[in-house]
Each structure stands twice: as C-alpha cells, then as structure tokens.
Symmetry: C2
Subunit: 123 residues, 2 copies
C-alpha cells in the first residue's frame, strides 16, 4: 500500500523548477531586496518580464517558505529563508550512493578499457 | 542584465515536485521494475490512480532524465538514473552556508537565553 505525503517538498521543488525563481533566490542570497529591486533586472531585456509576472514568481517563493516578506511603509522587502532548502537536500541525499556507484562503474569500465554495459534484468 | 538558463534543472525539480514521482524514484532505488510493477502500488487504495495517470508520471521522470526505459518484448522496464539528481544537489549546495548561519544564530540565542538563568542561580 502506498500512502503519499503531500509534503512541503512539493512546493519547494515546484518553486525551484523555474529559472526566474532560482535567479531570484540567488539574488536574495546576496542581500535582502525590495520587490522593485528583486523584480527590476527581470523586467529589462532580454527577459522583459512584466511586474505582475515577477510578483507572481515572488509569491510562489513565499508560499514555498523560501522568501519572507516584511512591509515598511509602501515598500515590501524580501529576504531569503533558506531553511526549507535543507529539506530538499535531505531528500536528495538518499540518492548520493547511486552517483558514487555510477562513478565506480565508470572507473571500472575505464580500467577494463570497455564501454559500460547496459544492465538487463533477467527473468 | 539577467539571462535565464532554461536548464535541465527545470525538468528535474519539476519531476521532484510531486509525491507520486518521488515515491516512484524511491521504489526504483531498490531495483529495476516493469511499468506494471512500478505503477501497481499507486493503482490500489488509498491512491487508486489510473494506469494512464501513473504512466504520465513515469514519462515526466523519463523526460527529466531520471528514469531509463528499456523494452523487452511487450514489457517496458524502468531503471533509476540518479545522475541528474546530483545537478540538483549541486545547485542546493550553494545555500548550505545559510542553514549553518541559522544554526549559529540559534546557538547564540540559546546561549544568551541561558546566561541570565545561570546568574540568577548564583544569586
């Protein structure tokens, strides 16, 4: 029986599945920024995104818990909240053994001077 | 100027943004499986997904390069290809410094909290 957990991971990975949102997180890793400062670079060519589109991306990041917003007067400030990214890394860490195995396979193949063989299941 | 790279990362994070697909990858981490074996557990209650829906999830995983499919007669076999997950981990690794900082902040806050208590005990 499979029980699926609709975890916060859904929202975190969904937030990371877009290059604008990944670039926004990278920008916020440098410093806090107002919505205008954060959206500005994406509103110029070659991206030339509308403010509405940029705001929507910021909202997706907020909903995933990756961005905290504070309001000071008329200005909204965004700050990176990297905590949920550690949950994503924890999930991915389980698979590290497979990259290690793949590298071992490659090394063995190179030493044997043969191309890696595709494994086939025998039934 | 911001230039966005519509990288394979889009597809990888998109593939991971769904609990069925994450569960399928976890299943394939155990062993290769036929499409029937992979979809079967999700087609029973409480998930009770259709074969069409399960197949669509497998296709998303394939398109992201996370699953390799081989055909033997009428049976399609799926195998985990964990390589692209290392790209996702590499992207996330940049943010590890922020969790470390957060833990340092927490530690400092906890130590600051316990100091006055120690003073009180002395009195």
């Amino acid at each position: 029986m499979v029980e699926l957990s609709h975890a916060p991971l859904d929202g975190i990975f969904q937030a990371l599945a877009d290059p604008t949102r990944r670039a926004m997180l990278r920008r916020l890793a440098e410093s806090e920024a107002s919505v205008g400062e954060l959206a500005g670079p994406f509103m110029k060519p070659p991206v030339a995104m509308s403010l509405a589109a940029a705001s929507k991306h910021i909202k997706v990041l907020e909903q995933a818990g990756l961005v905290d917003r504070t309001v000071q007067g008329r200005t909204h400030y965004c700050r990176l909240n990297a905590g949920p990214l550690s949950d994503a890394t924890d999930w991915l860490r389980y698979y590290e053994r497979f990259w290690a195995e793949r590298l071992d396979d490659l090394e063995r193949a190179l030493r044997a001077d043969t191309k890696p063989q595709r494994r086939r299941k025998k039934k």
